[in-house]
């Protein structure tokens, strides 16, 4: 299908982009890789007056180390994240989650930052960002600000990135030697997560020293399972112990009901998948 007409701008610097955005007003949309925006436009679910394409801003691409953190440019493609050695070494969970994003074509176009700002609760990367304690650098006309993952995801398709602002990079504390696993539950291979459990675990001699768990599609935003993380602390990673520790992971969540299953089913799935994700992350 054909989108409604819109004005198009393709700035080459963040400053230009911010200026274009300010000028375009409230009906403007920022486009990163376009993998979510374009289908929305083509189905005429949205008809922005302006599309500001960030695709030509080279400064927003790439992955680098900065002291104890990895810094990932918002416009870095999923494919680049997925194959990046630094990510693999310092944020293995992100590598594992990114490999499950859509299909190779989408991963070559779609971007890390674009997906996070789109904030689809069934999108996979939010859970990884939550679990890895990512922070988000946001540029606006008044300068830069940094937002923690806990404060970044506000609601369904809504983040801390405000009108006239652009997400420029994502900072992830290094998680060296942490095991990681993503249990993505889908009905068909290329589908949004019905439920996803992203777990990264620091373990010694089979005992869990620290676990961090993010949940996909268990509410209107990605969630962090802090109570379960506490319960896993010091647990020897076997089926029985982990089963007990994750038993309440769905408490307080508010998952959706849709064609893929109702909320009760999703809560039950979350418990099963959490056990599997943690055990996998521990190499059991």
């Amino acid at each position: 299908m054909i989108p409604a007409t819109f004005e198009y701008a393709a700035p080459t610097t963040v400053e230009e982009a911010l200026a274009a955005l300010a000028e375009a007003g409230e009906d403007a949309k920022v486009m990163a890789g376009g993998q979510s925006l374009l289908p929305v436009l083509r189905m005429r679910l949205n008809a922005p007056s302006h599309v500001i394409d960030l695709g030509r801003i080279d400064a927003l691409r790439g992955i680098r180390e900065e002291a104890d953190a990895l810094v990932i440019g918002a416009m870095t493609t999923h494919d680049d994240v997925m194959h990046d050695a630094l990510v693999h070494e310092h944020a293995l969970l992100l590598t594992k989650v990114t490999t499950t994003v859509a299909d190779p074509q989408v991963r070559h176009r779609g971007t890390f930052g674009g997906s996070l700002v789109h904030a689809d609760p069934a999108g996979d990367l939010g859970a990884a960002a939550m679990a890895l304690d990512a922070s988000f650098v946001i540029a606006g006309r008044d300068g830069m600000r940094t937002v923690a993952a806990d404060d970044f995801f506000v609601d369904l398709f809504e983040t801390a990135v405000g009108e006239g602002e652009i997400l420029t990079e994502i900072r992830i504390p290094k998680h060296e030697h942490w095991g990681a696993h993503y249990e993505k539950f889908v009905r068909t291979a290329q589908q949004w997560s019905i439920v996803g459990i992203a777990a990264t675990v620091h373990h010694e001699g089979g005992t869990i020293m620290e676990a961090k768990i993010g949940l996909t599609n268990m509410g209107s935003t990605p969630l962090r399972a802090r109570a379960t993380e506490e319960a896993l602390h010091g647990v020897f990673a076997n089926d029985e112990a982990v089963r007990a520790a994750v038993a309440n992971i769905a408490d307080g969540t508010n998952p959706p009901s849709d064609l893929n299953g109702d909320a009760d089913y999703r809560r039950d799935l979350a418990v099963v998948l959490a056990r599997r994700a943690v055990l996998h992350a521990c190499g059991v």
Partner: protein, 798 residues
């Protein structure tokens, strides 16, 4: 794949796994799909569709749309009411069938969400779409008949003026037609002394979901009106355009260029085609309409959608004595081209490969306010096969024997063919024993049973299940007399023509056109053998009513068994026309000539002449015998004497995760007996794709409507078709019982995989879960449904 090695003599090509000659252009897209066609001055059309399932149209305001630049015309149903014709219902299964008039564009009332109420024609597709958004339609909503079983009770009427939603009632009764005894007596006897299995099965609504969306281009300039359309039925479209719009048939040319799949979904003449035709005719300019995927899912006809109520009677030992079937079939809002007959096509297949004493099939097609339902790969037979194969498994459980053993006890033995069934069909040939033995061997049946036992004992969270499906189906639609008895609006013959070109090349024209089946390759193989012409020298032409003036098109696994026979007859006529010319040129008696490998030779001599040389001589016509026409070209029309009945044994192993409800395919073996195979590679493609499509019904696909009658699964996000990543590699093989009703001995394979695989998969899931107390799961067996069934069984509910 067992590749049949080419043999010597005239059997060189048939049986060879030739690469398809059409694939280069199809795969690279360097070809004519309807939407690729560009004509000078061509206009583009966009549709305005009803968002309501049932509503009166109060007013349509087109002013804003008309005011946009480059908008040429906006038409509503009222504007064209006098000239738009009607969409055909060619199969009134009973003479008192109730069917609402299906207008291309609704005039006063819409009966499903997606029905066209207005169209915009503009200079570009984008401008047409923009203007369509501005057409303002004022509706008054009406109560909608949505649920099939409720609709059958006539509480809300889908079409108030019909007075009922029940379109007709159709029955096949073995006692009444003399093909068996009384089913009620058999059931009564079984209730007293045997086993009765009763089940209600939901055949969920499916969407054909062909790869190429439907697209139509109509060019009214010149002497004829030419329509290119992504259709399975160009000949039927031409006939019906003439019959319903008043345009003389001789002024209409319909071309189905390369068509990207259909699965029955393009066995239809559509409102979109009719409106494009109308708009082009009115405006005097070429007009193109190409649907979006969402429009395709919403307004192209759907498939299946039945409730089946089944009662199977058997002896204590497990011998089936009778089967009673009551089908409620959701037709949607309108009865399409062959939709009326689709649920009835199952009538002859519920008895499947088994010997019954009594049988009754009752079918009530029901109108609802949803998208129309018509043929979808298998059309009536998958529903029947699923029902009986599920019942046979239940019977095996009841008797306490292996599911294969219960089938052996009841099936027709190979020495009993030809066999007339309780439904009244005469099966041509088959060997169920051989196919089943081969399937068990490849599958490693006993080893998998042992593994299953072990997992059960260990209470493994992932349980193994084995599903059996010993299907048969009827192909080769169809003997025209039979279709006449069933009140179908056309015959079932097929046409072929062979043109011998003077340069030694050959053109083959077939009335059944390909929408992915590989006609060009298979037809070339057949003609190559029959006439001794090299494969590459043969060009197959199809899908253009001006080139192939006669044909009944492609559906019901008919092309090869019916069209292939027409081709053989035409080829034989070429040889017979060439014979007197050869005799004349070789100065021999006709009786002394023999024709082998494309050459006439004088028996006992070295003297001979190739058919291609005769073609050249005929072109010159300098030295032909008196009274012989200067042409070898021949045509033939073949009307089949019977259907063909391929069969097979499919075995499926599934791993069912009892914690999540997730079903994983572990192993799938298909041994199909489809008679003689012309091209094993094409057959493998049909079988693999067919199996995947049938598995999709078992596990993934369902068209879902909400309470307002809006299609919820209106994109591929929610209508979950599988990709290659979702299925495993299938092990396929064949046994061969040649059909006795055509020269080649072929039976048809287009629908076999789809018919066979659905019950194989569901039987496997239930086989895995039976120890947990689960005996039924509605399709598609989504993880949520499987999980719910396990949970219900644990809670003591069934």
């Amino acid at each position: 794949m067992t590749i049949i090695e080419p043999t010597t003599g005239t059997q060189r090509e048939v049986g060879a796994a030739r690469r398809r000659k059409e694939d280069q252009r199809l795969i690279t897209g360097r070809t004519r799909w309807s939407d690729n066609i560009q004509l000078p001055g061509m206009l583009h059309m966009a549709m305005v569709r009803s968002p309501y399932a049932h509503a009166m149209i109060r007013r349509i305001d087109t002013e804003q749309a008309k005011a946009l630049p480059n908008v040429i015309s906006v038409l509503t149903g009222k504007d064209v009411a006098e000239e738009q014709g009607v969409i055909a219902n060619a199969w009134a299964i009973t003479t008192d069938q109730k069917a609402p008039a299906h207008l291309p564009m609704a005039v006063d009332r819409v009966a499903f969400a997606g029905e066209v109420v207005a169209v915009v024609v503009a200079r570009s597709a984008a401008e047409a779409r923009d203007a369509a958004e501005l057409v303002d339609v004022d509706y008054t909503e009406m109560p909608a008949a949505l649920d099939l079983r409720e609709a059958a009770e006539d509480k809300v009427l889908a079409h108030p003026d019909l007075g009922t939603n029940k379109s007709s009632f159709w029955q096949l009764d073995s006692a009444a037609q003399g093909s068996g005894g009384s089913v009620d007596e058999a059931i009564a006897e079984a209730r007293a002394n045997g086993i009765v299995i009763e089940r209600e099965i939901r055949q969920q609504r499916l969407i054909p979901a062909f790869m190429e969306p439907r697209s139509t281009v109509v060019d009214p300039t010149g002497e004829q009106i030419t329509m290119w359309s992504s259709t399975q039925v160009p000949h039927i479209a031409r006939f019906l355009l003439a019959a319903t719009t008043g345009t003389p048939e001789s002024k209409i040319r319909v071309i189905a260029p390369d068509v990207g799949g259909g699965f029955g979904g393009k066995l239809q003449t559509t409102p979109e085609e009719w409106i494009t035709f109308l708009a082009a005719k009115r405006l005097g300019k070429p007009v193109k309409y190409t649907e979006t995927r969402s429009e395709s899912l919403m307004s192209g006809h759907h498939g299946r959608d039945q409730w089946q109520t089944l009662t199977l009677a058997a002896t204590k030992e497990g011998r089936v004595t009778g089967l009673k079937v009551d089908v409620l079939a959701d037709m949607g809002a309108y009865i399409g081209l062959v939709g009326g007959g689709v649920p009835v096509l199952g009538a002859w297949m519920y008895n499947a490969i088994y010997k019954f004493d009594s049988y009754q099939f009752n079918c009530t097609p029901v109108l609802t306010n949803k998208t129309w339902v018509d043929a979808y790969r298998g059309a009536g037979r998958p529903e029947a096969t699923y029902a009986i194969e599920r019942l046979m498994d239940e019977l095996a459980v009841e008797v306490g024997v292996d599911p294969i053993a219960i089938r052996e006890m009841n099936w027709i033995k190979h020495e009993e063919f030809p066999f007339t069934t309780v439904a009244g069909m005469t099966y041509d040939s088959g060997n169920y024993e051989a196919a089943t033995a081969r399937a068990k061997e490849i599958f490693g049946y006993d080893d998998l049973r042992a593994e299953q036992q072990k997992r059960r004992e260990q209470k493994d969270p992932v349980q193994l299940g084995i599903g059996v499906s010993t299907f048969t189906e009827m192909c080769g639609l169809a003997p025209s007399r039979v279709l006449g008895q069933l009140n179908y609006g056309a015959g079932g013959w097929e046409h072929a023509e062979i043109r011998m070109l003077p340069t030694g090349k050959v053109e083959v024209i077939t009335g059944s056109s390909s929408h992915g089946q590989g006609h060009e390759t298979a037809w070339s193989q057949i003609v190559a053998d029959r006439l001794g012409i090299p494969f590459d020298d043969i060009e197959v032409l199809h899908g253009d009513t001006q080139v192939s003036h006669k044909g009944l098109d492609t559906y019901g696994s008919r092309s090869l068994t019916v069209g292939g026979e027409a081709l053989i007859l035409a080829a034989d006529k070429v040889i017979e026309k060439a014979r007197p010319i050869a005799a004349h040129l070789l100065e021999a008696a006709e009786g002394d000539l023999e024709f082998t490998d494309g050459k006439f030779t004088v028996r006992g001599t070295e003297q001979g002449m190739a058919l291609t040389e005769i073609a050249t001589a005929v072109f010159a016509a300098h030295n032909l015998p008196d009274g012989v026409e200067a042409s070898l070209d021949s045509e033939a029309t073949y009307d089949p004497v019977n259907f063909s009945f391929p069969h097979g044994t499919h075995l499926c192993a599934t791993e069912v995760d009892t914690e999540t409800g997730q079903v994983k395919l572990r192993k799938y073996v298909a041994v199909d007996d489809i008679g003689v195979i012309v091209n094993p590679m094409i057959v493998a493609g049909q079988v693999h794709g067919g199996i995947a499509q049938g598995i999709a019904q078992a596990l993934w696909e369902e068209a879902v409507y909400d309470d307002a009658g809006t299609l919820v699964s209106a994109s591929f996000v929610d209508y979950t078709i599988p990709s290659a990543a979702d299925v495993i590699s299938f092990d396929i093989d064949h046994t061969t019982s040649p059909s006795t009703t055509n020269t080649l001995g072929t039976k048809g394979v287009g629908e076999a995989g789809t018919i066979a695989s659905t019950p194989a998969v569901v039987n496997a899931i239930l086989d895995a879960l039976r120890p947990l107390g689960v005996s039924d799961i509605e399709m598609p067996c989504t993880p949520h449904r499987v999980w719910s069934a396990i949970r219900a069984a644990k809670g003591g509910q069934s």
